[in-house]
């Protein structure tokens, strides 16, 4: 029976020889903040002093400030991956008056690095027209991203799409085959073309068989791309004017076969696009930041205005659309001026694409989007 003993011993050796924990290879900035009451005056909101939950794909961290000219040297603190170090040193005062400062994070094992830009930017007046002429390939070259050029000439990455999530399921897809792409046949110049795509075998395995083409004001975090897609969409950016209506042009053709989340055909159901916009309070009563996601962007109690088109009929010619903001909750003008409200604006090629129902091939073209603000309309009315 001694062999039995050896077998048992061998099994024990195999299962118990766990080696020493390897050093961490990750080198992310997970959170960045500025602290100190004396620095709060440079920000509109205290929450603007902290950038929470930096997504793994982000390498530009922007703090929004009141006035660039009076900005002192700022000590920026970082929460890093376990064991990682940052240079310049964590919390050291840096001069941001000449533009972004480059930080390099090195992993605990010293083998991996990530380079981040940290910037302090004056809040720019919100743009009111979006023509979708400004796009480029993402830093990994896989898909397209859209940006806005602020009034200081710098790039504002205010637009986000689900393209990054599509990449995870379809790493070999060509940039032109993603759900959200530029199209040269715009109303004028380029437009954005949103197409509902099949997500392939991965998507099916995760019960997310389709990806609607979408584009929205806000940010996308791929972290939950396979688990909780509704949380990947961070809807809205701070807006300092009260919106009255959203106008623009669209074309739409629904895909042929409408399917549910189990990829089963739903006969006689025709896909629809969706365009909507909401203005919401971006802080709760306790002063905590509020961010709307795919699951509450139309239902959150923090919403004060909603603009939504009931029906957008299929059309192969450019048709104008006009969405009027509705809502009776008073808007605090002072809070509005201090970036206390955010505006979400969402375009999607399948209205129920967020629950993975839609028709593959549904295509929505969007161009020449304009947001009309309270003051502008008053001026227009006076003319």
């Amino acid at each position: 029976m001694k062999y039995f003993y050896y077998i048992v011993t061998l099994t024990m050796i195999l299962t118990s020889c766990i080696k020493d924990e390897p050093q961490n290879t990750e080198c992310d900035i997970l959170e960045a903040w500025v602290e100190g009451d004396h620095l709060a005056q440079h920000f509109f909101q205290n929450t603007d002093m902290r950038i929470r939950e930096v997504s793994s794909g982000t390498d530009l961290l922007t703090f929004t400030i009141r006035n660039h000219a009076s900005l002192p040297a700022m000590p920026v603190y970082f929460k890093l991956s376990s064991g990682a170090v940052v240079s310049p040193a964590n919390g050291s005062e840096q001069d941001f008056s000449n533009g972004p400062v480059t930080y390099i994070v090195t992993s605990e094992d010293g083998q991996w690095h990530r380079t981040y830009q940290v910037d302090f930017r004056e809040a720019s007046l919100p743009s009111s027209s979006y023509d979708f002429e400004d796009f480029e390939l993402s830093s990994n070259g896989n898909y397209y991203v859209w940006y806005d050029t602020g009034n200081d000439g710098a790039i504002d990455r205010i637009w986000a799409s689900g393209n990054e999530g599509f990449m995870i399921a379809n790493p070999n897809a060509d940039a032109k085959d993603y759900p959200t792409v530029p199209d040269e046949n715009g109303f004028d110049g380029y437009c954005v073309r949103l197409t509902t795509r099949a997500t392939g075998s991965w998507g099916k395995a995760f019960k997310k068989p389709i990806a609607a083409g979408n584009l929205f004001l806000g940010a996308f975090d791929s972290k939950y791309a396979l688990t909780n897609t509704l949380k990947t969409t961070q809807m809205g950016i701070p807006y300092t004017k009260e919106p009255v209506k959203v106008t623009g042009y669209y074309k739409y053709s629904p895909g042929e076969v409408f399917t549910d989340k189990d990829s089963r055909e739903v006969p006689d159901r025709i896909d629809e696009p969706s365009i909507y916009s909401v203005l919401y309070l971006n802080h709760d009563e306790q002063g905590n930041e509020v961010m709307l996601h795919g699951d509450d962007v139309l239902t959150s109690p923090y919403i004060v205005r909603t603009a939504q088109e009931e029906a957008l009929p299929a059309t192969s010619d450019w048709q104008p659309f006009e969405l009027t903001f509705k809502g009776t909750i008073p808007i605090d003008a002072d809070l509005l001026a201090n970036r206390g409200y955010s505006l979400a604006l969402v375009f999607s090629s399948s209205k129920t694409g967020d629950t993975f129902e839609g028709a593959v091939g549904s295509t929505l073209y969007i161009d020449k989007v304009k947001i009309t603000f309270q003051t502008e309309q008053t001026t227009e009315n006076a003319q």
Binding site: Y3, V8, P22, I168, G200, W202, A205
Partner: protein, 252 residues
């Protein structure tokens, strides 16, 4: 590995052809029927540092049944060959930190470094032919050892990664969270990449207990990985290492 395989084959041939040249007295052949319980794992030789813990290890009712025939060469030495049907499975859960893995579905691959939980299932049904030298050390106890060849009739190597996250491609890549329920975790299945033929070595002991009945204990150690050598998706080569506790009945 190739050298081991060649030398094993040569050894088998030597065992088979050795007695063939001599006169065989079939009356001397001892025939044993055996049934046993297999316990073991499909594991790398040396657990990599990226595996941080073994959370669970389920015992699977694996068994081995068949017979072997031993031809005595002298008073103490003999050679034996047998034919067994056996199952070798595994069902375990480990935690990892930065474990290199690739999960593949049809044409879409996802490769990266995974930190979290992995549940791994292995199931193999096979016909095994052991060739053994035996040496009787006492009246009741006999030691055996030699190579074996297994032909797999059914095979499964599958599992899922859950409650963790994958860094796509390398530690700086996109972070993708895996959930802890079906539909939120990443499944994989590399059954098709498994070998249908495994080579290994066994050592064992037979203990005559009572009349024709006896007890046996064997250790079989796979010398070929369970996957084909061109399969690189799993970071380490995994070897089947199983022990068998059994009883035998001497038919003749």
């Amino acid at each position: 590995m190739r050298h081991i395989q060649i030398s094993l084959i040569l050894f088998c041939l030597a065992l088979l052809t050795g007695p063939a040249t001599a006169q065989i007295d079939f009356d001397n052949i001892q025939l044993k029927a055996r049934v046993g319980y297999n316990i073991g794992a499909t594991a790398p030789l040396g657990i990599p540092a990226s595996i941080r813990g073994i959370e669970s290890f389920k015992l699977i009712p694996d068994f081995r049944v068949g017979f072997d025939a031993m031809y005595p060469l002298s008073e103490k030495f003999g050679i034996a060959a047998g034919l067994f049907f056996e199952t070798k499975g595994m069902d375990g859960e480990v935690t990892t930190k930065g474990y290199h893995m690739k999960v593949k579905m049809d044409d879409a691959e996802m490769e990266g470094l995974y930190t979290g939980h992995v549940r791994q299932k292995v199931q193999q049904r096979m016909l095994t032919i052991p060739l053994q030298l035996s040496y009787r050390i006492s009246e009741k106890v006999e030691l055996t050892g030699g190579p074996y060849l297994s032909l797999l009739l059914a095979k499964e190597f599958s599992g899922y990664a859950f409650d963790g996250y994958l860094r796509k491609d390398d530690p700086t890549g996109a972070k993708v969270v895996m959930g802890n329920q079906e539909g939120e975790w990443a499944t994989y299945d590399f059954s098709d990449e498994m070998r249908t033929c495994q080579l290994g070595a066994t050592v064992g002991v037979n203990w005559d207990l009572f009349r024709r009945l006896g007890l046996s204990a064997d250790l079989s150690w796979g010398l070929t990985g369970i996957h084909r050598s061109d399969f690189k998706t799993v970071e380490q080569t995994l070897y089947p290492i199983y022990g068998t506790i059994g009883i035998f009945y001497r038919i003749k």
